[in-house]
């Protein structure tokens, strides 16, 4: 049996072999690390399940109403609305006004309605001003519609209202890119920081420096493994979010999220690289990475959707790479933007990665001391 001669040191074949074996070693190290698996895959998925379930039915809060006696105006309006009104109102019945009012005072129901001939009496509590406002407008709408119908003339004006977003935009469609962005951010930052610090501590970094392996092979292997992990995270998230229970609807160019994930991974690897270059121990690296990633998750639109966030958070978010990762993914996955919409976000993420990498190289040390 003859074996092929080993590739010459520094040749393309040797670099490829080094890259392959380093990637394999790093991937095995990751896959066998239960804590890393938990924090990069399972933990974010738990957040997705939790938030996804909490916000699932939160699109319009229903108003609960007690009918005292017979309220024909309301009954006719419900019968005539083909179930639309029942999406807003949940109606129960009571024969005693006193007990119904008690329910309203205690906040168990939002309003009690009673019909006295031609007058609809609505009693509500102002403890919750928003609900009180909704109660008022719903019932004035019902009364106006009834008056209009009683006049037997076609209405002079009609209201047609539509949501600006795609009709299917549900919380899951900003939760998925948001939490996925956070998962990729912490995965990338921790992977780079911990690898660098632990390899410096156990002197593997020096050992590799004394092997005929270029820094390029080591760095590209780390990038390849992290990008692979990021894409796995993305598909796990999408697989869960598109189940009928959560009901994520991907828009046409959702696959543009893949290049965004790659750029985002590079940006957060560069953060990890800097953390790893500065920190001396693994504990310090973990603490420092947390200190950067966690606030960024709140300010960069991962945990709190930027559309709902206060103005100052929206302003701050422009300085954070996580914003571009999250919003970029949202645009192509949920808002239905075309592939070109992702390019500025990708460019900013790559630029961020380049700048931080340059800084890291300057503060990088092979050895402790």
């Amino acid at each position: 049996m003859t074996t092929p001669p080993p590739p010459a040191p520094g040749s393309r074949a040797a670099r490829w072999q080094a890259f392959r074996s380093l990637s394999r070693a790093m991937f095995r190290g990751f896959a066998r690390d239960r804590a890393a698996m938990f924090f990069s895959i399972l933990f974010p998925v738990m957040f997705l399940l939790l938030f996804g379930s909490i916000y699932k039915s939160s699109s319009t809060p229903k108003i609960s109403v007690v009918e005292v006696g017979r309220v024909s105006v309301l009954d006719q309006a419900r019968a005539g609305s083909h179930g639309q009104l029942d999406q807003v109102l949940s109606v129960t019945h009571s024969s005693s006004l006193a007990s119904a009012l008690n329910e309203v005072r205690q906040g168990n129901v939002d309003a009690a309605v009673q019909q006295q001939d031609g007058t609809l009496v609505v009693r509500y509590s102002v403890a919750n001003p928003t609900t009180a406002g909704v109660v008022n407008s719903v019932f004035s709408g019902i009364v106006q519609a009834a008056n209009q119908a009683a006049s037997r003339r076609p209405p002079a004006f009609q209201l047609s209202s539509r949501q600006v977003e795609d009709k299917s935009l549900k919380p899951i469609q900003y939760l998925t890119p948001g939490l996925l962005g956070w998962a990729i951010a912490s995965g990338g930052a921790f992977a780079a920081a911990i690898t660098l610090v632990s390899w410096r501590q156990n002197k593997l970094l020096r050992r590799l420096r004394l092997a005929p392996v270029g820094t390029g092979s080591v760095v590209t292997a780390r990038i390849a493994v992290s990008v692979a992990v990021g894409i796995v995270q993305m598909f796990v998230f999408i697989a869960i979010a598109i189940t009928p229970y959560f009901g994520l609807k991907l828009t046409a160019y959702w696959w543009m999220a893949i290049p965004i994930v790659i750029c985002g991974t590079l940006a957060f690897l560069s953060i990890g690289l800097l953390v790893g270059a500065i920190a001396k121990t693994q504990q310090a690296a973990t603490a420092l990475a947390n200190l950067i990633i966690l606030p960024m998750a709140f300010l960069g639109g991962a945990f709190i959707p930027l559309t709902f966030a206060p103005q100052w958070i929206q302003d701050v978010s422009y300085a954070l790479p996580l914003r571009y990762l999250v919003v970029g993914m949202q645009d192509v996955m949920a808002r239905g933007d075309g592939p070109a919409a992702a390019l500025p976000a990708m460019g900013i993420l790559l630029g961020f990665a380049a700048v931080l990498t340059l800084i890291s190289v300057r503060v990088f040390r092979w050895d402790e001391i």
Partner: protein, 300 residues
């Protein structure tokens, strides 16, 4: 024959500390060379300069006729470096670890598996390195350094944290390696290790080489008195003193001890009187050489 390693007037300072202060020595091909000295003597810094991990302030280093600094890709495949027992990829098994290093040097996986046998670790090939004992991890680390058949092997304190049994096992392994024609450079603060393993030693202290030579020759040159002791009570004190002129004789009730620079007549006399029960002869060691060179006790 040109030297495998040649070091001339090497100097390296850290601030006001002269870690290496004018070190000169040569290592012949195939030689087992020890750099010996207490902690902080400058052994490791010297070794790191030779390996190419640090740049010397001044002086010349040549390894296999090449300069190790700056990082020399032509030299790297020809040297093997064992740093510490824990310098491994996380969560890989012993076999995977060795195969990864084999890949980095472009060596087939078969050779990696052979090395597991050479260091006697075939039975723990599937064990993750975190779970190996100190001695096993050290053996694996040496296997990783040898997998590409380097011409020169560097070992930095290989038995540092090992128990006596594991140290002895590792010595056997290292003797076997030396027999295969590798040039080996080892640093140690264990005098006995240098004495058993090395053909040549350089004794270092405070960044300087105090003396170089074969351990046995260094000890002999001392002309240090030898201690001969037998069981107490075999000879009376008067009779004992007649055995040798100039020997110091002492009896502590357990042993009768002669301290002399001329052991031959004492031993002959004891043999004639059939008084060799419990015989022990203790010569000088490298520790005594260190003591005579520095004027202070050797403390690792």
């Amino acid at each position: 024959m040109t030297a495998a390693i040649s070091v001339r007037d090497l100097r390296k300072s850290y601030g006001s500390l002269r870690a290496v202060d004018g070190v000169t020595f040569e290592v012949e091909p195939g030689e087992f060379f020890g750099i010996l000295g207490p902690n902080g003597a400058g052994k490791t810094t010297t070794l790191e300069i030779i390996e190419g991990l640090r740049e010397p302030d001044s002086g010349e280093v040549s390894v296999l006729g090449m300069s190790p600094w700056p990082r020399n890709p032509a030299l790297l495949p020809r040297i093997g470096v064992q740093l510490q027992a824990s310098s491994f990829f996380e969560r890989l098994t012993a076999r995977e670890q060795l195969r990864t290093f084999a890949d980095l040097y472009g060596v087939p996986a078969r050779r990696a598996d052979e090395m597991l046998d050479v260091v006697g670790m075939a039975d723990v090939a599937g064990t993750r390195t975190e779970k190996l004992s100190g001695g096993q991890a050290q053996r694996l680390s040496i296997a990783c350094a040898l997998v590409h058949r380097p011409e020169v092997l560097f070992l930095d304190e290989p038995t540092g944290a090992l128990d006596p049994q594991a140290r002895r096992n590792l010595w056997d392994l290292l003797r076997g390696i030396a027999g295969e024609g590798h040039t080996v450079v080892l640093t140690t603060h264990h005098m006995d290790e240098a004495e058993t393993l090395c053909q040549q030693v350089a004794i270092m202290d405070h960044g300087k080489v105090l003396q170089t030579g074969p351990p046995a020759a260094l000890v002999r040159e001392l002309a240090h008195p030898v201690k001969i002791s037998v069981e107490s009570g075999l000879l009376g004190p008067e009779e004992a003193r007649t055995l040798a002129d100039g020997a110091v004789v002492a009896d502590d009730g357990v042993s009768l001890t002669f301290t002399t620079t001329e052991p031959a007549p004492v031993l002959a006399g004891l043999a004639n009187r059939d008084a060799l029960k419990g015989l022990q002869v203790t010569g000088a060691t490298l520790e005594d050489v260190f003591l005579s060179l520095t004027g202070r006790e050797y403390r690792a």
